[in-house]
Protein backbone atom coordinates (compact mmCIF):
# COMPACT_ATOMS: atom_id res chain seq x y z
CA UNK A 1 0.00 0.00 0.00
CA UNK A 2 1.39 3.41 -0.93
CA UNK A 3 1.82 6.15 1.66
CA UNK A 4 -0.93 8.10 -0.07
CA UNK A 5 -3.32 5.17 0.17
CA UNK A 6 -2.33 4.55 3.77
CA UNK A 7 -3.02 8.13 4.79
CA UNK A 8 -6.34 8.04 2.93
CA UNK A 9 -7.28 4.82 4.72
CA UNK A 10 -6.44 6.45 8.04
CA UNK A 11 -8.50 9.53 7.17
CA UNK A 12 -11.51 7.41 6.22
CA UNK A 13 -11.26 5.31 9.35
CA UNK A 14 -10.88 8.41 11.53
CA UNK A 15 -13.96 9.83 9.84
CA UNK A 16 -15.92 6.64 10.55
CA UNK A 17 -14.72 6.79 14.14
CA UNK A 18 -16.03 10.37 14.40
CA UNK A 19 -12.52 11.63 15.10
CA UNK A 20 -11.94 14.05 12.22
CA UNK A 21 -11.56 17.77 12.82
CA UNK A 22 -12.85 20.23 10.20
CA UNK A 23 -9.50 20.59 8.42
CA UNK A 24 -9.08 16.84 8.11
CA UNK A 25 -12.65 16.52 6.84
CA UNK A 26 -11.96 19.09 4.15
CA UNK A 27 -8.76 17.23 3.23
CA UNK A 28 -10.72 14.00 2.92
CA UNK A 29 -13.45 15.64 0.84
CA UNK A 30 -10.93 17.21 -1.51
CA UNK A 31 -9.21 13.90 -2.11
CA UNK A 32 -12.48 12.02 -2.60
CA UNK A 33 -13.75 14.69 -4.97
CA UNK A 34 -10.64 14.88 -7.12
CA UNK A 35 -9.44 11.29 -7.31
CA UNK A 36 -11.50 8.40 -8.73
CA UNK A 37 -9.56 5.74 -6.79
CA UNK A 38 -9.93 7.67 -3.54
CA UNK A 39 -13.68 8.03 -4.17
CA UNK A 40 -14.01 4.31 -4.78
CA UNK A 41 -12.12 3.48 -1.58
CA UNK A 42 -14.16 6.01 0.41
CA UNK A 43 -17.52 4.64 -0.76
CA UNK A 44 -16.34 1.05 -0.39
CA UNK A 45 -15.32 1.62 3.25
CA UNK A 46 -18.61 3.34 4.06
CA UNK A 47 -20.60 0.48 2.55
CA UNK A 48 -18.64 -2.04 4.60
CA UNK A 49 -18.93 0.06 7.76
CA UNK A 50 -22.70 0.37 7.35
CA UNK A 51 -23.07 -3.33 6.65
CA UNK A 52 -20.95 -4.18 9.70
CA UNK A 53 -23.10 -1.99 11.92
CA UNK A 54 -26.25 -3.62 10.57
CA UNK A 55 -24.93 -7.15 10.95
CA UNK A 56 -23.19 -6.78 14.29
CA UNK A 57 -25.76 -4.86 16.25
CA UNK A 58 -28.45 -7.23 15.12
CA UNK A 59 -26.67 -10.54 15.30
CA UNK A 60 -24.17 -10.77 18.08
CA UNK A 61 -25.05 -11.41 21.70
CA UNK A 62 -24.96 -8.47 24.03
CA UNK A 63 -22.34 -8.41 26.76
CA UNK A 64 -24.26 -9.03 29.96
CA UNK A 65 -21.69 -7.41 32.15
CA UNK A 66 -21.98 -4.06 30.46
CA UNK A 67 -22.53 -1.45 33.13
CA UNK A 68 -24.78 0.72 31.02
CA UNK A 69 -27.22 -2.14 30.60
CA UNK A 70 -27.33 -2.82 34.29
CA UNK A 71 -27.93 0.83 35.02
CA UNK A 72 -30.75 1.09 32.55
CA UNK A 73 -33.04 -0.90 34.79
CA UNK A 74 -32.95 1.37 37.77
CA UNK A 75 -35.37 4.21 38.46
CA UNK A 76 -33.63 7.35 39.55
CA UNK A 77 -35.46 7.84 42.80
CA UNK A 78 -34.72 4.33 43.97
CA UNK A 79 -31.04 4.39 43.28
CA UNK A 80 -30.16 8.07 43.47
CA UNK A 81 -29.42 10.50 40.70
CA UNK A 82 -26.55 8.44 39.37
CA UNK A 83 -28.88 6.05 37.63
CA UNK A 84 -31.02 8.69 36.05
CA UNK A 85 -28.24 9.63 33.66
CA UNK A 86 -28.67 7.26 30.84
CA UNK A 87 -26.50 7.79 27.79
CA UNK A 88 -28.46 8.91 24.78
CA UNK A 89 -29.00 6.10 22.36
CA UNK A 90 -28.37 7.11 18.83
CA UNK A 91 -30.94 6.07 16.30
CA UNK A 92 -29.58 2.72 15.23
CA UNK A 93 -29.81 1.59 11.67
CA UNK A 94 -29.63 -2.04 12.71
CA UNK A 95 -32.81 -1.61 14.67
CA UNK A 96 -34.49 -0.02 11.69
CA UNK A 97 -33.36 -3.02 9.73
CA UNK A 98 -34.83 -5.30 12.34
CA UNK A 99 -38.11 -3.40 12.18
CA UNK A 100 -38.10 -3.74 8.46
CA UNK A 101 -37.43 -7.43 8.59
CA UNK A 102 -40.01 -8.01 11.25
CA UNK A 103 -42.70 -6.00 9.55
CA UNK A 104 -42.10 -7.87 6.35
CA UNK A 105 -42.27 -11.18 8.15
CA UNK A 106 -45.41 -10.32 10.03
CA UNK A 107 -47.18 -9.32 6.89
CA UNK A 108 -45.96 -12.18 4.78
CA UNK A 109 -46.99 -14.85 7.32
CA UNK A 110 -44.94 -17.33 5.32
CA UNK A 111 -43.98 -20.74 6.63
CA UNK A 112 -40.63 -22.18 5.62
CA UNK A 113 -39.15 -25.62 5.96
CA UNK A 114 -36.54 -25.52 8.67
CA UNK A 115 -34.80 -28.89 8.89
CA UNK A 116 -32.10 -27.71 11.34
CA UNK A 117 -34.70 -27.03 14.02
CA UNK A 118 -36.82 -30.14 14.44
CA UNK A 119 -39.29 -28.29 16.64
CA UNK A 120 -40.34 -26.15 13.67
CA UNK A 121 -42.90 -27.74 11.38
CA UNK A 122 -44.22 -26.77 8.01
CA UNK A 123 -47.61 -28.36 7.68
CA UNK A 124 -50.52 -26.39 9.10
CA UNK A 125 -52.39 -29.67 9.68
CA UNK A 126 -49.86 -31.16 12.10
CA UNK A 127 -50.82 -30.72 15.76
CA UNK A 128 -48.57 -28.08 17.28
CA UNK A 129 -47.97 -26.83 20.79
CA UNK A 130 -46.93 -23.25 20.03
CA UNK A 131 -46.80 -20.65 17.30
CA UNK A 132 -43.98 -18.20 16.57
CA UNK A 133 -45.86 -14.92 16.70
CA UNK A 134 -42.89 -12.56 16.51
CA UNK A 135 -39.37 -12.91 15.16
CA UNK A 136 -36.86 -10.08 15.25
CA UNK A 137 -33.52 -10.69 13.50
CA UNK A 138 -33.89 -14.35 14.49
CA UNK A 139 -31.57 -16.91 12.92
CA UNK A 140 -30.43 -20.46 13.44
CA UNK A 141 -27.08 -20.33 11.64
CA UNK A 142 -27.93 -18.72 8.32
CA UNK A 143 -31.58 -19.81 8.38
CA UNK A 144 -34.08 -17.15 9.32
CA UNK A 145 -36.80 -18.00 11.82
CA UNK A 146 -40.12 -16.62 10.64
CA UNK A 147 -43.19 -15.34 12.32
CA UNK A 148 -46.10 -17.67 11.60
CA UNK A 149 -44.10 -20.89 11.88
CA UNK A 150 -45.58 -23.60 14.05
CA UNK A 151 -43.67 -25.40 16.77
CA UNK A 152 -44.09 -28.95 18.02
CA UNK A 153 -42.21 -30.92 20.67
CA UNK A 154 -38.47 -30.94 20.02
CA UNK A 155 -35.37 -28.82 20.29
CA UNK A 156 -35.29 -25.25 19.09
CA UNK A 157 -32.02 -23.41 18.51
CA UNK A 158 -31.70 -19.67 18.15
CA UNK A 159 -28.25 -18.31 17.34
CA UNK A 160 -29.27 -14.67 17.48
CA UNK A 161 -32.26 -12.39 17.55
CA UNK A 162 -35.55 -12.69 19.40
CA UNK A 163 -38.62 -14.86 18.94
CA UNK A 164 -41.90 -14.99 20.76
CA UNK A 165 -43.59 -18.36 21.19
CA UNK A 166 -47.29 -18.35 22.04
CA UNK A 167 -48.34 -21.74 23.39
CA UNK A 168 -51.81 -23.07 22.65
CA UNK A 169 -52.69 -22.97 26.36
CA UNK A 170 -51.98 -19.25 26.76
CA UNK A 171 -48.36 -19.22 27.94
CA UNK A 172 -46.08 -16.81 26.09
CA UNK A 173 -42.27 -17.11 25.99
CA UNK A 174 -39.84 -14.60 24.50
CA UNK A 175 -36.47 -16.20 23.73
CA UNK A 176 -33.30 -14.21 23.13
CA UNK A 177 -30.49 -15.81 21.18
CA UNK A 178 -28.07 -17.40 21.51
CA UNK A 179 -30.37 -19.93 23.12
CA UNK A 180 -31.23 -23.60 23.00
CA UNK A 181 -34.55 -24.76 24.34
CA UNK A 182 -36.38 -28.06 24.27
CA UNK A 183 -40.13 -27.87 23.91
CA UNK A 184 -41.47 -30.88 25.86
CA UNK A 185 -45.18 -30.11 25.60
CA UNK A 186 -47.54 -27.17 26.03
CA UNK A 187 -46.83 -27.01 29.78
CA UNK A 188 -43.12 -27.73 29.95
CA UNK A 189 -39.86 -26.57 28.39
CA UNK A 190 -36.20 -27.24 29.18
CA UNK A 191 -33.97 -24.21 28.78
CA UNK A 192 -30.51 -25.57 27.98
CA UNK A 193 -28.85 -22.19 27.39
CA UNK A 194 -29.89 -18.57 26.92
CA UNK A 195 -32.49 -16.12 28.17
CA UNK A 196 -36.28 -16.38 28.20
CA UNK A 197 -38.98 -14.20 29.65
CA UNK A 198 -42.43 -15.62 30.26
CA UNK A 199 -45.92 -14.26 30.68
CA UNK A 200 -48.26 -16.99 31.83
CA UNK A 201 -52.04 -16.56 31.62
CA UNK A 202 -54.43 -18.16 34.12
CA UNK A 203 -55.10 -21.04 31.73
CA UNK A 204 -51.43 -22.07 31.83
CA UNK A 205 -50.68 -21.76 35.56
CA UNK A 206 -48.24 -24.51 36.48
CA UNK A 207 -46.11 -23.96 33.37
CA UNK A 208 -42.63 -25.41 34.00
CA UNK A 209 -39.21 -24.20 32.91
CA UNK A 210 -36.54 -26.77 33.70
CA UNK A 211 -32.82 -26.10 33.46
CA UNK A 212 -29.69 -28.06 34.26
CA UNK A 213 -29.80 -26.82 37.86
CA UNK A 214 -33.33 -25.60 38.56
CA UNK A 215 -36.99 -26.56 38.29
CA UNK A 216 -39.13 -23.43 37.94
CA UNK A 217 -42.92 -23.70 38.28
CA UNK A 218 -45.15 -20.77 37.44
CA UNK A 219 -47.85 -19.85 39.92
CA UNK A 220 -49.60 -17.27 37.72
CA UNK A 221 -47.02 -14.72 36.81
CA UNK A 222 -44.41 -13.09 34.61
CA UNK A 223 -40.76 -13.94 35.06
CA UNK A 224 -37.37 -14.32 33.41
CA UNK A 225 -34.96 -17.27 33.39
CA UNK A 226 -31.34 -17.16 32.26
CA UNK A 227 -29.05 -20.17 31.89
CA UNK A 228 -25.29 -19.79 31.49
CA UNK A 229 -22.90 -22.22 29.82
CA UNK A 230 -22.21 -23.95 33.16
CA UNK A 231 -25.91 -24.38 33.87
CA UNK A 232 -26.10 -21.61 36.46
CA UNK A 233 -29.70 -20.44 36.44
CA UNK A 234 -30.97 -16.99 37.37
CA UNK A 235 -34.68 -16.50 37.98
CA UNK A 236 -36.20 -13.04 38.29
CA UNK A 237 -39.91 -12.57 39.04
CA UNK A 238 -41.53 -9.50 37.45
CA UNK A 239 -45.13 -10.11 38.55
CA UNK A 240 -46.84 -12.69 40.77
CA UNK A 241 -44.94 -15.66 42.09
CA UNK A 242 -43.00 -18.78 41.07
CA UNK A 243 -41.61 -21.75 42.95
CA UNK A 244 -38.05 -22.89 42.37
CA UNK A 245 -36.41 -26.22 43.31
CA UNK A 246 -32.91 -27.45 42.84
CA UNK A 247 -33.06 -29.67 39.78
CA UNK A 248 -32.05 -32.93 41.46
CA UNK A 249 -34.13 -32.46 44.57
CA UNK A 250 -37.64 -31.80 43.35
CA UNK A 251 -39.08 -33.47 46.42
CA UNK A 252 -37.46 -30.90 48.69
CA UNK A 253 -39.30 -27.83 49.91
CA UNK A 254 -39.54 -25.39 47.00
CA UNK A 255 -38.46 -21.79 47.37
CA UNK A 256 -41.25 -19.30 46.72
CA UNK A 257 -40.00 -16.31 44.74
CA UNK A 258 -42.27 -13.27 44.65
CA UNK A 259 -42.37 -10.27 42.34
CA UNK A 260 -39.35 -8.04 42.74
CA UNK A 261 -37.23 -10.97 43.97
CA UNK A 262 -34.53 -13.03 42.28
CA UNK A 263 -32.75 -16.33 42.98
CA UNK A 264 -29.88 -18.36 41.57
CA UNK A 265 -29.29 -22.11 41.27
CA UNK A 266 -25.84 -23.42 40.47
CA UNK A 267 -23.83 -26.62 40.70
CA UNK A 268 -21.56 -24.89 43.20
CA UNK A 269 -24.34 -24.40 45.76
CA UNK A 270 -26.63 -27.04 47.30
CA UNK A 271 -29.43 -24.51 47.82
CA UNK A 272 -31.48 -21.93 45.94
CA UNK A 273 -29.77 -18.65 46.78
CA UNK A 274 -31.29 -15.17 46.87
CA UNK A 275 -29.62 -12.63 44.59
CA UNK A 276 -30.06 -8.96 43.77
CA UNK A 277 -33.04 -8.13 41.59
CA UNK A 278 -31.11 -7.33 38.41
CA UNK A 279 -33.23 -7.29 35.27
CA UNK A 280 -30.71 -6.11 32.67
CA UNK A 281 -30.45 -9.65 31.28
CA UNK A 282 -34.13 -9.64 30.45
CA UNK A 283 -34.59 -6.14 29.06
CA UNK A 284 -34.34 -7.18 25.43
CA UNK A 285 -36.79 -10.06 25.62
CA UNK A 286 -39.36 -8.57 27.98
CA UNK A 287 -40.88 -5.95 25.61
CA UNK A 288 -41.59 -8.77 23.14
CA UNK A 289 -43.67 -10.50 25.84
CA UNK A 290 -45.43 -7.22 26.41
CA UNK A 291 -46.67 -6.67 22.88
CA UNK A 292 -43.95 -4.29 21.71
CA UNK A 293 -42.23 -5.42 18.57
CA UNK A 294 -39.43 -2.89 18.52
CA UNK A 295 -38.32 0.47 19.82
CA UNK A 296 -35.69 2.63 18.16
CA UNK A 297 -34.04 5.96 18.77
CA UNK A 298 -34.65 7.34 22.24
CA UNK A 299 -37.68 5.27 23.11
CA UNK A 300 -37.17 2.44 25.58
CA UNK A 301 -39.40 0.00 27.36
CA UNK A 302 -39.47 0.28 31.14
CA UNK A 303 -37.54 -2.38 33.04
CA UNK A 304 -39.64 -5.34 34.16
CA UNK A 305 -40.60 -5.29 37.82
CA UNK A 306 -43.24 -4.16 40.28
CA UNK A 307 -41.54 -0.93 41.36
CA UNK A 308 -41.04 0.84 38.07
CA UNK A 309 -43.98 3.09 37.17
CA UNK A 310 -44.71 6.55 35.72
CA UNK A 311 -44.81 8.08 39.18
CA UNK A 312 -41.22 7.27 40.10
CA UNK A 313 -39.33 7.19 36.84
CA UNK A 314 -37.47 10.24 35.55
CA UNK A 315 -35.36 10.03 32.44
CA UNK A 316 -33.88 12.96 30.57
CA UNK A 317 -32.71 10.99 27.60
CA UNK A 318 -35.57 8.65 26.79
CA UNK A 319 -39.25 8.44 26.20
CA UNK A 320 -40.07 5.55 28.53
CA UNK A 321 -42.88 3.10 27.71
CA UNK A 322 -44.99 1.84 30.64
CA UNK A 323 -47.47 -1.00 30.13
CA UNK A 324 -50.89 -0.32 31.71
CA UNK A 325 -54.11 -2.36 31.58
CA UNK A 326 -53.97 -5.34 29.26
CA UNK A 327 -56.86 -6.88 27.30
CA UNK A 328 -59.42 -4.68 29.03
CA UNK A 329 -62.90 -3.98 27.67
CA UNK A 330 -64.11 -0.49 28.70
CA UNK A 331 -67.83 -0.11 29.35
CA UNK A 332 -67.91 3.42 27.93
CA UNK A 333 -66.75 4.91 24.68
CA UNK A 334 -63.20 6.33 24.80
CA UNK A 335 -62.45 9.75 23.35
CA UNK A 336 -59.01 9.91 21.72
CA UNK A 337 -56.86 12.36 19.75
CA UNK A 338 -55.88 10.16 16.80
CA UNK A 339 -57.15 7.01 15.15
CA UNK A 340 -55.99 7.38 11.55
CA UNK A 341 -52.45 7.38 10.15
CA UNK A 342 -50.95 10.82 9.85
CA UNK A 343 -49.54 13.59 12.00
CA UNK A 344 -51.22 14.74 15.20
CA UNK A 345 -52.80 18.21 15.17
CA UNK A 346 -54.81 19.83 17.96
CA UNK A 347 -58.60 19.76 17.74
CA UNK A 348 -61.64 20.72 19.79
CA UNK A 349 -62.79 18.23 22.41
CA UNK A 350 -66.13 17.59 20.70
CA UNK A 351 -64.44 17.00 17.34
CA UNK A 352 -62.16 14.27 18.61
CA UNK A 353 -62.77 10.68 17.44
CA UNK A 354 -64.41 8.19 19.79
CA UNK A 355 -63.61 4.48 20.21
CA UNK A 356 -66.84 2.54 20.74
CA UNK A 357 -67.39 0.69 24.01
CA UNK A 358 -66.90 -3.06 24.08
CA UNK A 359 -63.60 -3.07 22.21
CA UNK A 360 -60.83 -5.06 23.91
CA UNK A 361 -57.80 -2.79 24.39
CA UNK A 362 -54.31 -2.79 25.88
CA UNK A 363 -52.87 0.49 27.07
CA UNK A 364 -49.30 1.84 27.18
CA UNK A 365 -48.14 5.20 28.53
CA UNK A 366 -45.20 6.92 26.82
CA UNK A 367 -43.57 9.50 29.06
CA UNK A 368 -40.68 11.95 28.90
CA UNK A 369 -40.07 13.22 32.43
CA UNK A 370 -37.26 15.76 32.21
CA UNK A 371 -35.41 16.95 35.29
CA UNK A 372 -32.62 19.47 35.83
CA UNK A 373 -29.15 17.93 35.86
CA UNK A 374 -25.57 18.44 34.71
CA UNK A 375 -23.66 21.61 33.90
CA UNK A 376 -26.62 23.11 32.07
CA UNK A 377 -29.61 22.03 34.16
CA UNK A 378 -32.09 24.24 32.34
CA UNK A 379 -31.22 22.87 28.91
CA UNK A 380 -34.32 22.00 26.95
CA UNK A 381 -34.52 18.26 26.29
CA UNK A 382 -35.22 16.94 22.83
CA UNK A 383 -35.72 13.24 22.18
CA UNK A 384 -37.23 11.19 19.41
CA UNK A 385 -37.71 7.66 18.27
CA UNK A 386 -40.25 5.18 17.07
CA UNK A 387 -42.15 2.30 18.61
CA UNK A 388 -43.77 -0.58 16.77
CA UNK A 389 -46.46 -2.63 18.48
CA UNK A 390 -47.35 -6.21 17.63
CA UNK A 391 -51.03 -5.32 17.22
CA UNK A 392 -52.68 -2.34 15.51
CA UNK A 393 -53.00 0.97 17.33
CA UNK A 394 -56.67 1.73 18.02
CA UNK A 395 -56.17 5.26 19.30
CA UNK A 396 -53.60 7.77 20.59
CA UNK A 397 -54.30 10.16 23.46
CA UNK A 398 -52.25 13.20 24.39
CA UNK A 399 -54.57 16.12 25.25
CA UNK A 400 -54.39 16.71 29.01
CA UNK A 401 -58.14 16.34 29.53
CA UNK A 402 -58.23 13.05 27.62
CA UNK A 403 -55.14 11.77 29.45
CA UNK A 404 -56.88 12.36 32.78
CA UNK A 405 -60.13 10.77 31.60
CA UNK A 406 -58.38 7.69 30.25
CA UNK A 407 -56.07 7.41 33.28
CA UNK A 408 -59.10 6.48 35.39
CA UNK A 409 -59.86 3.62 33.02
CA UNK A 410 -56.42 2.38 31.96
CA UNK A 411 -54.01 3.70 34.61
CA UNK A 412 -52.46 1.60 37.34
CA UNK A 413 -54.71 2.25 40.38
CA UNK A 414 -51.79 1.90 42.79
CA UNK A 415 -49.76 4.61 41.10
CA UNK A 416 -49.98 8.32 41.66
CA UNK A 417 -49.54 9.65 38.14
CA UNK A 418 -47.61 12.88 37.70
CA UNK A 419 -49.51 15.82 36.24
CA UNK A 420 -49.55 15.39 32.52
CA UNK A 421 -48.53 17.99 30.01
CA UNK A 422 -49.86 17.47 26.51
CA UNK A 423 -47.61 17.48 23.51
CA UNK A 424 -47.50 20.70 21.51
CA UNK A 425 -47.70 20.03 17.76
CA UNK A 426 -46.56 22.61 15.27
CA UNK A 427 -49.45 24.94 14.31
CA UNK A 428 -50.09 25.01 10.59
CA UNK A 429 -47.76 27.47 8.86
CA UNK A 430 -45.57 28.03 11.93
CA UNK A 431 -41.90 27.58 10.97
CA UNK A 432 -40.37 28.14 14.43
CA UNK A 433 -38.37 25.26 15.93
CA UNK A 434 -39.18 23.49 19.16
CA UNK A 435 -42.54 21.80 18.62
CA UNK A 436 -43.48 18.20 19.35
CA UNK A 437 -44.44 15.70 16.70
CA UNK A 438 -46.53 12.52 16.76
CA UNK A 439 -46.99 10.54 13.58
CA UNK A 440 -49.04 7.36 13.31
CA UNK A 441 -47.56 5.36 10.44
CA UNK A 442 -49.57 3.76 7.70
CA UNK A 443 -48.98 0.28 9.11
CA UNK A 444 -51.05 1.44 12.15
CA UNK A 445 -48.56 -0.27 14.43
CA UNK A 446 -45.75 2.27 14.42
CA UNK A 447 -45.70 5.62 16.17
CA UNK A 448 -43.00 8.22 15.44
CA UNK A 449 -42.49 10.49 18.43
CA UNK A 450 -40.42 13.66 18.79
CA UNK A 451 -40.72 15.56 22.08
CA UNK A 452 -39.15 18.76 23.38
CA UNK A 453 -39.44 19.52 27.07
CA UNK A 454 -38.07 21.91 29.66
CA UNK A 455 -36.59 20.41 32.85
CA UNK A 456 -39.18 20.02 35.57
CA UNK A 457 -41.96 19.18 33.09
CA UNK A 458 -43.18 16.05 31.43
CA UNK A 459 -44.96 14.96 28.27
CA UNK A 460 -47.26 11.96 28.10
CA UNK A 461 -48.89 9.99 25.31
CA UNK A 462 -51.29 7.10 25.96
CA UNK A 463 -51.46 4.50 23.19
CA UNK A 464 -54.41 2.11 23.02
CA UNK A 465 -53.75 -1.13 21.15
CA UNK A 466 -56.28 -3.58 19.75
CA UNK A 467 -56.07 -6.64 22.02
CA UNK A 468 -56.78 -10.24 21.11
CA UNK A 469 -59.41 -12.37 22.81
Amino acid sequence: MSDDNRSLTVLIQEMLDGALDDDQRVDLMNRVESDDAARKMYLDQIATHTALQAVLADCLPNAVDDESRWNRGNPKRQQGNEFGRIPRLRVGLPTYAAVAATMLLLISGMVYLWPENPAIIQSVDTPHVALITQAVGAYDGDVAIRSGQQVMSGQLSLDRGLVRLDFVNGASLAIEGPAKIEIVDEMRVVLLRGVVTARISASAIGFVVNTKTAHVVDLGTAFGVSVGDDGTTDVCVFEGEVSVNKKDSESSQPTRVREGQAVRASEQSPTIDSTDYEVALFENAWPVNSGVLQTTGSIRFVSPGPNFHPGNYEDNEHIVVFPERSGFIPEDAIRVDMVDPGEYAKSDYRDKPVLPSGQRLTSYLLQLDAYPEGKNPNRRRSVRGQITFANPIAGVITATRLLKESEIIFGNPDVEYPTAREVEPRPEGDERPGFDSLILAADRRTLFVELQENPGHLDQVRVLIEAEE
Partner: protein, 171 residues
Protein backbone atom coordinates in the same frame (compact mmCIF):
# COMPACT_ATOMS: atom_id res chain seq x y z
CA UNK B 1 -47.98 1.32 -3.91
CA UNK B 2 -50.36 1.02 -0.94
CA UNK B 3 -49.71 2.84 2.33
CA UNK B 4 -48.57 -0.43 3.91
CA UNK B 5 -46.15 -1.04 1.05
CA UNK B 6 -44.89 2.51 1.41
CA UNK B 7 -44.04 2.11 5.09
CA UNK B 8 -42.40 -1.24 4.39
CA UNK B 9 -40.32 0.37 1.65
CA UNK B 10 -39.14 3.01 4.14
CA UNK B 11 -38.07 0.44 6.68
CA UNK B 12 -36.40 -1.73 4.03
CA UNK B 13 -34.22 1.09 2.74
CA UNK B 14 -32.77 2.17 6.10
CA UNK B 15 -29.30 0.61 5.68
CA UNK B 16 -28.96 2.08 2.22
CA UNK B 17 -30.08 5.53 3.33
CA UNK B 18 -27.63 5.43 6.22
CA UNK B 19 -24.71 4.63 3.90
CA UNK B 20 -25.87 7.30 1.45
CA UNK B 21 -26.20 10.05 4.06
CA UNK B 22 -22.92 9.10 5.76
CA UNK B 23 -21.04 9.34 2.47
CA UNK B 24 -22.46 12.79 1.67
CA UNK B 25 -21.85 14.19 5.16
CA UNK B 26 -18.60 12.43 6.08
CA UNK B 27 -19.89 12.78 9.62
CA UNK B 28 -21.04 9.65 11.50
CA UNK B 29 -22.29 11.67 14.47
CA UNK B 30 -24.77 13.73 12.43
CA UNK B 31 -25.84 10.86 10.17
CA UNK B 32 -28.45 9.23 12.48
CA UNK B 33 -30.17 12.58 13.02
CA UNK B 34 -30.34 13.32 9.31
CA UNK B 35 -31.60 9.78 8.70
CA UNK B 36 -34.35 10.31 11.23
CA UNK B 37 -35.29 13.65 9.65
CA UNK B 38 -35.41 11.93 6.29
CA UNK B 39 -37.75 9.27 7.68
CA UNK B 40 -40.06 11.88 9.14
CA UNK B 41 -40.20 13.76 5.84
CA UNK B 42 -40.85 10.53 3.93
CA UNK B 43 -43.75 9.74 6.25
CA UNK B 44 -45.17 13.25 6.12
CA UNK B 45 -44.98 13.40 2.35
CA UNK B 46 -46.35 9.94 1.68
CA UNK B 47 -49.27 11.45 -0.23
CA UNK B 48 -46.89 13.27 -2.58
CA UNK B 49 -45.23 10.06 -3.75
CA UNK B 50 -46.20 9.19 -7.31
CA UNK B 51 -47.30 5.58 -7.48
CA UNK B 52 -45.47 4.87 -10.74
CA UNK B 53 -42.21 6.55 -9.62
CA UNK B 54 -39.16 4.77 -8.21
CA UNK B 55 -39.36 4.72 -4.43
CA UNK B 56 -35.57 4.48 -4.14
CA UNK B 57 -35.06 7.65 -6.19
CA UNK B 58 -37.71 9.41 -4.11
CA UNK B 59 -36.03 8.34 -0.86
CA UNK B 60 -32.47 9.23 -1.96
CA UNK B 61 -33.66 12.60 -3.22
CA UNK B 62 -35.38 13.29 0.09
CA UNK B 63 -32.22 12.29 1.96
CA UNK B 64 -30.09 14.54 -0.24
CA UNK B 65 -32.32 17.52 0.57
CA UNK B 66 -32.11 16.71 4.27
CA UNK B 67 -28.30 16.56 4.06
CA UNK B 68 -28.25 20.00 2.44
CA UNK B 69 -30.73 21.35 4.99
CA UNK B 70 -28.56 19.98 7.78
CA UNK B 71 -25.45 21.65 6.37
CA UNK B 72 -27.28 24.96 6.06
CA UNK B 73 -28.71 24.70 9.59
CA UNK B 74 -25.23 24.23 10.97
CA UNK B 75 -23.99 27.26 9.01
CA UNK B 76 -20.53 25.79 8.73
CA UNK B 77 -17.67 28.02 7.64
CA UNK B 78 -17.11 25.85 4.63
CA UNK B 79 -20.75 25.46 3.72
CA UNK B 80 -20.19 25.95 0.00
CA UNK B 81 -17.49 23.30 -0.09
CA UNK B 82 -19.62 20.80 1.86
CA UNK B 83 -22.67 21.42 -0.32
CA UNK B 84 -20.67 21.03 -3.50
CA UNK B 85 -19.16 17.80 -2.19
CA UNK B 86 -22.59 16.37 -1.31
CA UNK B 87 -24.12 17.38 -4.64
CA UNK B 88 -21.24 15.98 -6.67
CA UNK B 89 -20.99 12.70 -4.77
CA UNK B 90 -24.75 12.02 -4.64
CA UNK B 91 -25.10 10.00 -7.88
CA UNK B 92 -22.21 7.60 -7.15
CA UNK B 93 -23.17 7.40 -3.47
CA UNK B 94 -26.58 6.16 -4.59
CA UNK B 95 -24.97 3.35 -6.56
CA UNK B 96 -22.81 2.39 -3.56
CA UNK B 97 -25.77 2.52 -1.18
CA UNK B 98 -27.75 0.15 -3.39
CA UNK B 99 -25.00 -2.46 -2.86
CA UNK B 100 -25.16 -2.20 0.94
CA UNK B 101 -27.81 -4.86 1.44
CA UNK B 102 -25.77 -7.34 -0.55
CA UNK B 103 -22.83 -6.70 1.75
CA UNK B 104 -25.07 -7.13 4.80
CA UNK B 105 -26.09 -10.55 3.52
CA UNK B 106 -22.52 -11.62 2.84
CA UNK B 107 -21.04 -10.21 6.01
CA UNK B 108 -23.46 -12.14 8.22
CA UNK B 109 -21.81 -15.41 7.20
CA UNK B 110 -18.29 -13.93 7.29
CA UNK B 111 -18.62 -12.70 10.87
CA UNK B 112 -19.52 -16.23 11.95
CA UNK B 113 -16.07 -17.37 10.84
CA UNK B 114 -14.26 -15.01 13.22
CA UNK B 115 -12.93 -15.99 16.63
CA UNK B 116 -15.09 -15.24 19.67
CA UNK B 117 -12.58 -12.62 20.76
CA UNK B 118 -12.81 -10.79 17.45
CA UNK B 119 -16.62 -11.07 17.42
CA UNK B 120 -16.76 -9.57 20.88
CA UNK B 121 -14.53 -6.66 19.89
CA UNK B 122 -16.56 -6.02 16.73
CA UNK B 123 -19.80 -6.16 18.67
CA UNK B 124 -18.54 -3.60 21.15
CA UNK B 125 -17.23 -1.30 18.46
CA UNK B 126 -19.99 -1.53 15.85
CA UNK B 127 -22.94 -3.09 17.63
CA UNK B 128 -22.73 -0.92 20.71
CA UNK B 129 -20.77 1.90 19.10
CA UNK B 130 -18.26 1.97 21.95
CA UNK B 131 -15.54 4.59 21.40
CA UNK B 132 -12.11 3.25 20.55
CA UNK B 133 -10.61 5.11 23.52
CA UNK B 134 -13.11 3.40 25.84
CA UNK B 135 -12.36 0.00 24.31
CA UNK B 136 -8.65 0.60 24.79
CA UNK B 137 -9.17 1.55 28.41
CA UNK B 138 -11.42 -1.44 29.11
CA UNK B 139 -9.02 -3.89 27.49
CA UNK B 140 -5.84 -2.31 28.87
CA UNK B 141 -4.43 -1.58 25.41
CA UNK B 142 -3.47 1.52 23.49
CA UNK B 143 -5.92 3.11 21.07
CA UNK B 144 -3.56 2.45 18.17
CA UNK B 145 -3.42 -1.25 19.12
CA UNK B 146 -7.22 -1.42 19.07
CA UNK B 147 -7.32 0.38 15.73
CA UNK B 148 -4.80 -2.08 14.32
CA UNK B 149 -6.84 -5.09 15.43
CA UNK B 150 -10.03 -3.59 14.01
CA UNK B 151 -8.23 -2.79 10.79
CA UNK B 152 -7.04 -6.39 10.47
CA UNK B 153 -10.51 -7.75 11.21
CA UNK B 154 -12.07 -5.45 8.62
CA UNK B 155 -9.50 -6.67 6.09
CA UNK B 156 -10.38 -10.26 6.91
CA UNK B 157 -14.06 -9.52 6.44
CA UNK B 158 -13.43 -7.61 3.22
CA UNK B 159 -11.48 -10.59 1.87
CA UNK B 160 -14.29 -12.91 2.92
CA UNK B 161 -16.92 -10.75 1.22
CA UNK B 162 -14.82 -10.61 -1.93
CA UNK B 163 -14.40 -14.38 -1.88
CA UNK B 164 -18.13 -14.91 -1.40
CA UNK B 165 -18.97 -12.45 -4.14
CA UNK B 166 -16.79 -14.48 -6.48
CA UNK B 167 -18.42 -17.71 -5.29
CA UNK B 168 -21.82 -16.10 -5.73
CA UNK B 169 -22.97 -17.39 -2.35
CA UNK B 170 -25.01 -15.77 0.35
CA UNK B 171 -25.19 -16.73 4.02
Amino acid sequence: MTSDQYILAITAIQNRLHAYILSLLADPVATPDVLQETNLVLIRKADDFQIDASFESWAYNTARFQVLAHLRDRKRDRLVLHEAFAEKLAPVAEVMAEETERRVQLLGGCVERLSDEHKSLLHKRYGKETAIATLAEDLGKTTSAIKQVLYRIRNLLAACVKERLQEGTVG
